[in-house]
């Protein structure tokens, strides 16, 4: 059953590449996204999620949660993309197999497949392969418009992430060396779970080295400062649906690897070492994001820096939550969906105003009221206004820091959060209210495709602030339990 999650998007991708009909391709993309979500829910309901320790691939509650987030995000993104493709005229020849549109749709689905592989992999080596594959599948998506800027962003993404992930490979080797000191591991595949069960026997010097390489390597992909340099460029230059996936789904996948290693460090009794590294990287990310958000005039870059802020918060949460990871998993859930909403709304704004400059956008609420409401609502949610889900998770993370006595981290976090709020509020109020810009821009076409995905995400975000359905709540708890408490 698990294989269907890999094969469905992959076959969808291959089929979109070879079919000549643009219409069929777009319908297929939407069908894949719907069936993917259905498959995740079926696996959740009808299959056990306790893979054997030696399995290279398998679904535990943590993977299930991340699959669920990815599926919830991919569905609106697929619908949005269908609309995006039908009114974009820069997509090359129509109704041809292997056209630019065909490659784009295919890569989007292959990208989903590689992300799925990374989420369900239970072996450091397989995880590495999957993460590198996500880079390769998504790099061409970024430069899809073939503008000079997007090529620059694509090259930076490809090179910086590949080098980063090569460092993570070194981390994997360090881990293997560390495991080679444990005779009982012998010929067992060194999956995370097998290593975890022998955690206290792993050679600590090599293990520490491994974690340093891993946090730098996967931290590059996750967007932790100072390895984040590719992120604002890639997220601002990519087509909006791709930005939504990069920010909402891909960053989580990379974080999953770091969390699994962090767990291993706990088993080896080195959690103080890994926690402090995670906290330091997290604090730097939040501070730097604050600095750049205040001075930001490009609203897509603003969202990108906000992603850096939130991976920083999650990194702090992972570092401070030795006994309680619940806030971390809710934060991952809420951030992904809210950021997805914001990037899609930004796509609508961009297509109406034809500019990414905050100063040239005014009166979004007046000109395109629906998108304006979603944009403003999404902004309030991402800044942690009650009753959004992010309010609950940030509040619990802060409570955790108070209980744990991390006062320095706490004060730096709070100052940065206020700075970020001010910076984002300035940009968003200018855009949402302000004087309506010139009316020359043409109205957005394809109303269903530009509004349904936003409503879908918006409803989930608002509802999850008030009420988490019991099965979802227990999934959160089970996922948090996998990474310790």
């Amino acid at each position: 059953m698990m294989w269907i999650l890999l094969i469905l998007p992959l076959t969808g991708g291959v089929f979109s590449l070879i079919t000549a009909s643009d219409f069929l391709r777009r319908i297929l993309l939407q069908l894949v996204s719907v069936f993917y979500l259905v498959a995740v829910i079926m696996i959740w309901k009808y299959f056990p999620h306790s893979p054997a320790p030696e399995d290279l691939l398998g679904i535990d509650p943590l993977s299930l949660l991340f699959l669920f987030i990815t599926a919830l995000l991919f569905l609106p993104v697929a619908f949005y993309t269908a609309g995006y493709l039908s009114h974009g005229d820069s997509m090359g020849k129509k109704n041809r197999a292997f056209s630019r549109e065909a490659v784009f749709t295919a890569l989007l689905q292959i990208f989903l497949s590689t992300m799925t592989l990374s989420i369900i992999s239970r072996h450091p080596g397989v995880f590495w392969i999957a993460i590198e594959a996500t880079t390769l599948a998504s790099a061409p998506l970024i430069s899809f418009h073939r503008s000079a800027y997007s090529l620059e962003a694509s090259w930076k993404y490809l090179l910086i992430c590949s080098v980063g992930i090569a460092l993570a490979l070194t981390g994997n080797i360090f881990l293997s060396v560390s495991a080679s000191f444990v005779p009982s591991l012998g010929s067992l595949p060194h999956t995370f779970e097998v290593l975890f069960s022998e955690g206290d026997l792993l050679q600590p010097v090599w293990l520490k080295g491994a974690f340093i390489f891993i946090i730098i390597g996967y931290g590059t992909k996750m967007g932790l400062v100072p390895m984040h340099t590719w992120l604002p460029d890639a997220h601002s230059q990519a087509p909006s649906p791709v930005s939504a996936l990069l920010s909402g789904a891909l960053l989580n996948c990379a974080m999953l690897g770091i969390l699994r290693f962090h767990n291993l460090m706990k088993a080896a009794g080195l959690f103080e070492f890994s926690s402090s590294l995670l906290t330091v990287f997290g604090v730097f990310s939040v501070i730097l994001a604050g600095w750049f958000i205040v001075n930001q005039n490009d609203y897509k870059r603003l969202l990108a820096y906000s992603s850096i802020e939130h991976v920083g918060i999650m990194s702090i949460a992972a570092g401070s939550s030795v006994y309680n990871s619940y806030p971390l998993v809710i934060h991952a859930f809420n951030h992904s969906l809210t950021k997805g909403l914001l990037f899609l709304a930004a796509g609508n704004i961009l297509s109406f105003y034809k500019t990414k400059n905050v100063k040239e956008v005014g009166g979004v609420l007046g000109n395109i009221p629906f998108t304006g409401v979603m944009w403003t609502g999404g902004f309030l949610a991402i800044c942690g206004f009650p009753p959004s889900g992010i309010f609950i998770s940030e509040f619990s993370i802060i409570k955790g820091l108070i209980n744990g006595g991390g006062w320095l981290t706490l004060s730096l976090l709070l100052v940065s959060l206020s700075v970020i709020f001010i910076g984002m509020a300035r940009a968003v109020t200018d855009m949402s209210f302000g004087t309506p810009a010139s009316k020359s821009a043409e109205p957005f076409k394809g109303r269903f495709y530009s509004s349904f995905p936003l409503v879908f995400l918006f409803v989930i975000i608002v509802v999850s602030g008030f009420w988490i359905p019991a099965p979802v709540g227990s999934l959160f708890k089970a996922a948090a339990f996998v990474i310790g408490g």
């Binding site: 080596g125 590495w128 594959a133 061409p140 073939r146 620059e152 694509s154 590949s162 070194t170």
Partner: protein, 211 residues
């Protein structure tokens, strides 16, 4: 004895890559690295001709020493670039840094507790190969040179892995090889697109996006 010669050759290819401005010989050097890698792997692990590991080594030899270098040389022809004219760090300084990196690799390896029976000098040479690759990525501006640096980095990591951890399972190694192949392939495509758009592939001039 053989392993000593191979180690020496590996160190020499690295210095050659650091000191040369012409790109075609650097590509040849990186493919020579791959041959040395395969040789060292075969002699340091006793393999039979029928084991899957043997075929894996053969496959990686073909990809890293023939397929990828040929692809990169084709990219050189299509972009019309022969040499790196204005590197970030000059060639004599690069060589000097190379000596320094080599010393760091030798010293650094001594500080780590290795399992029994690992030949230190070859491990140091593998770390030096890794550093050389990293240095080419930050110290050179042509996108192709950076891709070559990435390959050299991967070579270093691969050798370090086989020597110190005995390599991992065949399926994982195969996946890593596939990623490397597709990675360099896509980098090649992006380089050609950059050439078409900008009429050069100097990454230091790709600096419009910044805050």
């Amino acid at each position: 004895m053989f392993i000593h010669i191979m180690t020496a050759l590996l160190i020499l290819t690295n210095f050659y890559m650091l000191g040369s401005s012409r790109l075609s010989p650097i590509i040849t050097a990186v493919s020579a690295q791959a041959v040395i890698l395969a040789a060292v792997t075969v002699i340091s692990t006793d393999l039979s001709f029928v084991s899957p590991e043997f075929y894996l080594i053969a496959a990686s030899l073909v990809i890293k020493s023939v397929v990828l270098p040929v692809m990169l040389k084709k990219a050189l022809v299509r972009t019309g670039i022969r040499r790196e004219i204005t590197p970030v760090i000059g060639y004599s300084l690069s060589l000097l840094t190379g000596v320094l990196l080599f010393l760091v690799s030798v010293k650094g390896i001594k500080m780590l507790p290795f399992p029994e029976g690992v030949f230190n000098m070859t491990v140091s040479a593998s770390v030096f190969t890794f550093f050389t690759g990293l240095f080419l990525i930050v110290g050179r501006v042509k996108a192709i040179t950076q891709t070559i640096g990435y390959l050299s980095m991967e070579n270093g990591i691969y050798l370090f892995g086989t020597l110190s951890a005995g390599g991992s399972s065949a399926i994982v190694e195969l996946g890593i090889l596939l990623d490397l192949f597709v990675g360099v392939f896509i980098m090649g495509i992006v380089i050609l697109k950059i050439k078409r758009e900008f009429d050069h592939i100097d990454t230091d001039e790709l600096a419009v996006l910044r805050d």
